[in-house]
Symmetry: C2
Subunit: 280 residues, 2 copies
């Protein structure tokens, strides 16, 4: 059936013209795969846009490169969520990565992404450094050894449903505990417009749990309002703010959005109302 596939959020909708390819209910959520005229194939979870073939670079480049260009070492990486494979793909473009654990709770998201959106994970799926676990990321983080990862990335959906536990103090404290010295933590941190209070709460909480935490502002056209954020955190210094030139040089040529300059802009572009809220 051809028509509009929309996500509705608080009296606003964003829709793509296209056709539905898959509609199924996993033990965790409703999963939809569509083919759109504009952005190729796309994925929705519980009716919310997650990604699409020709619009996924914004999200994945923004989450990955400030963290991997800022951490002291990038030998061992943990990705929580990210079942479409895009975050892993961007991480594995960094030669310094020798082991990446991806822990996705919903095996059907992985299977349907590999079948219908194979380009998003790309070569990650067959990379020998890539280690996939279908399981609970919250339990994984709680059970992981102290100081066992250089970078921890949370690529989850909104803080409702299966992703709810990825945005609380206990989870963030475990992420801090399992980071090696000089490590960087990052999570998507919602829209300052469409999820204003949630966004501000995440940044404040990360500033309490880590010594340093800063949001980076960018764009994901298919997410509510198009205005999105990712928040980076570290213990020793805000080392995620500036990209190391050696690592940036190896990946910049393959990026569509990210550059060291773009990254600095994204960290600076905090709107006045968030700056005021964080000072309170």
């Amino acid at each position: 059936m051809s028509g509009w596939i929309d996500e509705e959020h608080r009296g606003v909708r964003y829709g793509l013209a296209g056709v539905s390819l898959v509609e199924e209910t996993s033990p965790f959520q409703q999963i939809s795969v569509i083919r759109s005229e504009r952005y190729g194939r796309g994925l929705l979870l519980d009716g919310c846009w997650m990604t699409a073939e020709h619009q996924e670079r914004h999200y994945h480049e923004s989450l990955v490169h400030p963290a991997l260009c800022g951490a002291e070492a990038i030998e061992r990486i943990l990705v929580i969520g990210g079942g479409d494979g895009g975050t892993a793909r961007e991480c594995l473009r960094h030669n310094g990565v020798s082991h990446l654990d991806l822990v996705e709770i919903d095996g059907r998201v992985i299977e349907l992404s590999r079948e219908h959106l194979p380009g998003i994970g790309g070569s990650a799926w067959s990379d020998p450094r890539f280690h996939l676990t279908v399981g609970d990321g919250i339990a994984w983080v709680a059970e992981a050894a102290d100081a066992s990862y250089d970078v921890v990335l949370v690529d989850g959906s909104d803080p409702a449903g299966p992703a709810e536990g990825l945005f609380n103090r206990s989870f963030f404290e475990h992420c801090r505990r399992i980071l090696r010295p000089g490590g960087v933590f990052a999570t998507q941190s919602e829209s300052p417009e469409a999820f204003r209070d949630v966004h501000i709460a995440i940044v404040k909480l990360l500033r309490e749990v880590f010594h340093h935490a800063d949001p980076l502002y960018g764009w994901v056209p298919m997410y509510p309002s198009g205005w999105w954020s990712w928040t980076f955190a570290a213990l020793d210094s805000p080392r995620y703010l500036k990209a190391r030139p050696d690592r940036a040089a190896t990946i910049a040529g393959g990026c569509e959005i990210w550059t060291p300059r773009w990254q600095e802009g994204g960290f600076a572009a905090m709107p006045a109302f968030v700056e005021r809220a964080l000072q309170q």
Copy 2:
């Protein structure tokens, strides 16, 4: 009638739940005024979202303050378009402005904005410094005296229909001619995502006509893709890049989005693909 009011653009739609209040055809365009659940009353021209009461600050603060905080003097301001009054309102918050000409081609846009969206123009409509002309901005610029304005702002719709002539070399050359030394020109310059080629062409053309021209990237959730740009130009130096602290201090407290830091971020946040296109 209650329902969704959508703008469709290349297989993507952005809609607000609400009701239609006015539908009429002026000599220039189709004008729609709606009341939305989420953002208050809104205006569409030829089916494209222009503004809404609770989402207009992004656009107006982004267009106005980098120009008015950068120009050497801000005594005389020209606004082409901007019939909703929001650009004039933000300009007139600067105490240094003594005369503002606003030239809007469609008198019905002004009348309907004053009637249905009075808060967007706000006190501008009754400000003694504000001089309104219903007429052709292209002709106004062609006939204006050399070096007669400190700042020229173009607040027009997409380069089709009545706004088409606001994006060509002849128009930009007149804008350059009528600027005083130390002056700043600024125009909305479309989305780098939804209007990628047009955006890049505008920036390149302004770099040919002026000695300095740089895009600032920000957000207007109701515009296609939510990712928007404004391009600033000057002859003597890129004086629009940094906000003068004295002027910034007088207006920052009343801004929702704009701060000097946000502005620097917006100028830095050029995506990789635009940076490459501008180097060609």
